[in-house]
Symmetry: C4
Subunit: 227 residues, 4 copies
């Protein structure tokens, strides 16, 4: 698998795609938040945004070709790729994967597994949360009867959703705003799963290591074992 | 167990039951959402709904007979079957199980375990959430002082409940609506458990595989081992 | 440990304590919910309640004696016993433990581990939730400006808290009501931990069993192993 | 690692740092809650607070020197130390670690692993929640349109956040109050992870022990194994 054309394509263009993803997110943020910016700047942002999107589409087509699969089968085996191509705000998911692929092929020493899981979950959730708060602000801030009227409100609401706390002092009122929020909720569930899963597997590792110690080292643990 | 009459019954009639379940859910949805439909269509839906229910009752009786157990013991050993027979909106739980049984007996290559857990949890929760949002809408939309007045509200509320976020911008006010919501909450807890459990077990698998690598491959991990 | 005087005491009086716990909970429920009951019935309930409490205190003192420890050390090594003696509404925690002890010593075939964890978590949370909803109703229903005015409200609020959803359509306003709610939240966290932990450990077991199958049975899984 | 100068420094000064941390938290609490205290007392609190902070800065500088690393690298390898030095309200995280280090080097019998995880999570979350509720109260209680006006409100709000329930009957309205709340949410997520992870790893341990029993002991479990 390491030497397939697909893997080589990913390895060679990973950095370019990451840059395109960040440009997409940045230009989207400027478009959404920069109401007062002069029109040429806003037009430039739109151009960058569309150019980045074009890059994603080209990448998708090349990957489809290199996979040697027909479109229906590719759609079925790469649902995430298709979704991310159509909705580039979800790109942060791919940034982490791309970074991993690039690092892996360059044989650089990577972070330890625990640090990696925490770092990836943190980076993905932060970027997806940022994208979500922008999209939410765009949908909600001008809607009649909306609670979420400033970008600060949107960030605060996104944080309460990602942590699955959900106070409800603010809530989206437009259908699209609610749809975006459901996506953020899914990220929140995944984050909870990542935090809990990391902790759980770390504890199991520690328990396994403690279990190998000679009895008598930890009196209470050994008492439990011989019951 | 593979060749018991009960297993053969499940294998032979699994597809028919799945179709009946989907018909039940569809006709229920049309009844609940189609206020403006002509009366014959609504009557047809009711007929389909009752026919599907009759199929479930027949299936239950046959399973009771084939199990060779008396009713009180069958009630105790098959509580889920009984609940699902009485409350067919919970059928989605059985759809997944039936699919699994059918696939297992046909010896088709099934999905890998992780993909299966994710797919089953996703399908079950989506279908149960759909059934829950319908039942909730039916109970609430005409109640005095209700927040949940459109089906869109009901779907949004169901999503906030399934993710255990719970903003509370909308909330059920009728006793039956609250009862339905408690059921949806239980699904949400189970979903959270499934997401977290999958992540946790996947991490543990990855850790176990990394631990088998020769030392020096991942400097930080090996440094931890020899402390 | 099986033949210590303490274990024998627990084994012999487990059933009596369970009955006393249920009597305590029942008489408390009648006192709280039965506003309109004639005074003699209410007085009888109070008597039963106090008698059950006396049984718990006697049990605590006997256990202290049988342990052969001095009071300060017993307080430190049995914090849960002390808490449950002072606050008998938390008894449901002990009911499960007592049942387990009794069954263990009678060498009856017990339920399988997964079924037991689910059953115990379910029973404990149901009983603690019931006790919590009673205590909450008692504190809140007559408070000025309270949301929770009927027992149905209290049950609904307790359910939203146990599932950690927390809509906030109702909320306690008295300090004691909030304290009770914090206790219910702790139960909710524990329930979430039990559900997630059960699912996680079950998945790990299933993965371990699948991993022992010969390669080729599940193509995708084996492809992952040899990478 | 046990005999490095850094470890010896930590071992020797751990108790002093813990005392400084508790003094910092106490004097902060008195400053925030004691509106009506005479000015000299409030000034004394401020002095103690600043002195404790100075101790933390000195400790940080010594650790930087003893590590033999340059500042940029130290910042990268010790992000938590830097954060805790700048924001001493997060000190509770270090209290637990310091206690662990001191106990470890004195070779005292420590608690069993499960008890330790529960105790550490409990102590950390309680102290961080206390610090969070103080900071939140300080930011919110005088803000126009604030819900959180008494310290009791702040404690109640912190509890609903830590358990990720989040009713939303109260909510912060100031940007800094919201920032503090996001920090408390992160603690809540970590607490959920700790509870769930402990339960999960404990169940896996119990399952592993049960699995070693001879078949026939638990009929249902053995029936499952031979399928």
């Amino acid at each position: 698998m390491t030497d397939s054309p697909l893997a080589r394509w990913e390895q060679r263009n990973g950095t370019a795609l990451t840059v395109a993803s960040l440009l997409f997110l940045t230009s989207y943020a400027v478009r959404v938040l920069g109401h007062g910016l002069p029109e040429p700047v806003r037009a430039l942002c739109l151009a960058v945004l569309l150019a980045a999107w074009a890059v994603f589409v080209v990448d998708y087509v090349v990957r489809l070709r290199l996979s040697g699969q027909r479109l229906p089968r590719f759609l079925r085996t790469h649902p995430l790729d298709t979704l991310v191509m159509l909705l580039p705000l979800l790109r942060p998911v791919r940034i982490v994967q791309t970074y991993e692929t690039v690092q892996h092929h360059r044989d650089r020493p990577r972070l330890a597994l625990h640090a990696r899981v925490i770092a990836y979950a943190g980076v993905s959730v932060t970027l997806l949360g940022f994208a979500g708060s922008l999209a939410l602000y765009q949908q909600e801030h001008a809607a009649p009867g909306a609670d979420i009227v400033t970008y600060g409100d949107s960030v605060w609401f996104t944080c309460t959703t990602l942590s699955t706390v959900g106070y409800g002092d603010l809530a989206p009122v437009t259908p699209l705003g609610r749809l975006v929020t459901v996506g953020v909720m899914a990220c929140g569930l995944a984050l909870l799963g990542a935090v809990t899963g990391s902790f759980s597997s770390w504890l199991i590792q520690v328990f396994a290591r403690e279990g190998e110690r000679p009895p008598g080292d930890s009196p209470e643990a050994s008492r439990r074992d011989d019951d």
